[in-house]
Symmetry: C2
Subunit: 377 residues, 2 copies
Amino acid sequence: MENFTIYNPVNLHFGKGVLDLLPSSINQYGERILLIYGKSSIKESGLYNQLMSMLDGFTIFEYEGIKSNPLVEDADAATKIARENKVDVILAVGGGSVIDTAKMVSIGVAEECSVWDYMIGKEHPSKAIPLFAVLTLAATGTEMNPFAVLQNEKLKRKIGYGHSFLYPKESYLDPQLTTTVSKDYTVYGIVDLIAHALEAYFGKGDSPLADRFVYSIIEEAMEVGPELLRNLDNYELRARIMYAATMALNGTTLHGRQSGDWGVHAIGHELSLLFDIAHGASLSIAYPAWMRIMKSKASDRICELGSVLFGAQDVDETALEFEEFFKSLGAPTRLTDVNIKDKDRKKIIRQWSDNNISGLNYKLSEGDYKPLLDYMI
Amino acid sequence: MENFTIYNPVNLHFGKGVLDLLPSSINQYGERILLIYGKSSIKESGLYNQLMSMLDGFTIFEYEGIKSNPLVEDADAATKIARENKVDVILAVGGGSVIDTAKMVSIGVAEECSVWDYMIGKEHPSKAIPLFAVLTLAATGTEMNPFAVLQNEKLKRKIGYGHSFLYPKESYLDPQLTTTVSKDYTVYGIVDLIAHALEAYFGKGDSPLADRFVYSIIEEAMEVGPELLRNLDNYELRARIMYAATMALNGTTLHGRQSGDWGVHAIGHELSLLFDIAHGASLSIAYPAWMRIMKSKASDRICELGSVLFGAQDVDETALEFEEFFKSLGAPTRLTDVNIKDKDRKKIIRQWSDNNISGLNYKLSEGDYKPLLDYMI
């Protein structure tokens, strides 16, 4: 085991009706709120009205329209509103993209720069204003971690950033709020949480108990996922996936390791950037392909995983089991499933190459890009 | 799944040499320290001198002699020293008994009452001074939870107490500090961590992923335990058990449940109180017996556990597997193994009865005590 730190100060409320606690919690920090959310879904579901009525008496500013691949440009615009209106608290209501945007806003308020400057290490945050997150989509785990991933439209780059200031102060997870999530996005969430567990598993450093936690999370997702897709409005199944998604990226699976790998996420981020495909879709396509090209470098590790989860005998069988599982959920497993064509090859390889796409543990080289793509087409 | 909260603000440093961080961390809170520790072992191991040299420049008061079944009387005496000397920080160096004592001291300083008054709910803590814990024994998980268990010698009662003020500010877990722990106490630690995972498993509320975490922790302990006993000075094995012990009672296995059961701990605490046997020893005797008397009330749950861990078919086989495993470690599994005799029956039953020993989920009644004892003798 590698040396590690466990520190996660998020106060996370999980279950039916937990939103009731929100007003008094926010009230400890002030009465001026910047509410950040996505498109129309929280208005259609009634959540917007519910929150407005609960937060009657607070002064609420709003920034809406966060995209599912969230943009630095939106974070900067929201930051400006937060700064100009001297808000005390950021309230993010939505999925990972909304919360990631809100995280960057929460540190961005302090200085007159683009949040991108923090992400590339040009500036360092000096403080954060409290962030409250109401999660409406089980997927990214951002509700209980200090990471954010944003896309810079101008520079055509999508990168992650981590800082201890980015832990939400409190997160509210009521699985009831996820029962209206579409089948597609439910699937992407399941793929995403499995991919997060895998990124930890393939990270730097042996941590056998953390490996067992990885298996536990993936087994849970594989057991619940298919049943949930047949019963999208089932509370218990939604709750199990929501909890699994939180545990997949709240630090637990990284205990005893130096880091995760994150190579597959990097591959996927570039695809989302080029073709605006959903993050989860990029991962269900990339992970089986990544396992196949890692046959020589990570054989033992992939085989151990496949053996525990599927009784698989080798890398190919393990990769196929994941591919078949993703396919059974209705997730794309080839680029052609999301209308990315053979003619896009050059563009993809150039994009990976320009950004030196690799993992932190299992390195990808230029020479890997073509065979990787071959497995993805 | 039941509604639940995840909140654990402990900053836990794990690995080789993490103590190096201690002086600067303490320094943020002040320079007057009350050091609390057990008997001679930290002096014999050299840890005492190491700390004294690291903390040169701080003003250090000391309270030594905490017993392995820690006493309210010691906590009160240490509290007096902390209060009179206006210490800024409590530094606990030892196992669970030392840290539990220090936790109560950290809240006790504020008011002129016995810490027992908090434990029985007569007083409520108003604040706590920062507690730093240096763990030298992998067992109780107290390094990352808000609980303490103390024994009141005068009243002959041993009870647990929980409050959010009892989270250590920071905990330091260097597995190197545990390589000199005796075989007996290594065994008790392994039994204790397994028992903690089981208390969560038998608690109130279904939480399938938390169940998988329970299996993971127990499987890890059962894989590493026997190997560690053959290699007591092996860093990697010590590290794996130390990490497992933390995860067994830091809240993770309780996610999605209302509470753990804690019936077996209650049974065991009374035995420790009457006969001064080690906590772990009381648990290896009590758990298999408890499973046997719960054959009718908790059959499905015990069978599920036995099936996952051992491929067992029924309650008796599951109980026997646990008994055999504990025995293989050299842990006592019958009261006679720790010199408690048939003639002590009445005394034990009276003690359980006087204190209404039961679990929070699977209730024990007066009528259960005799058959329970029959399985333990």
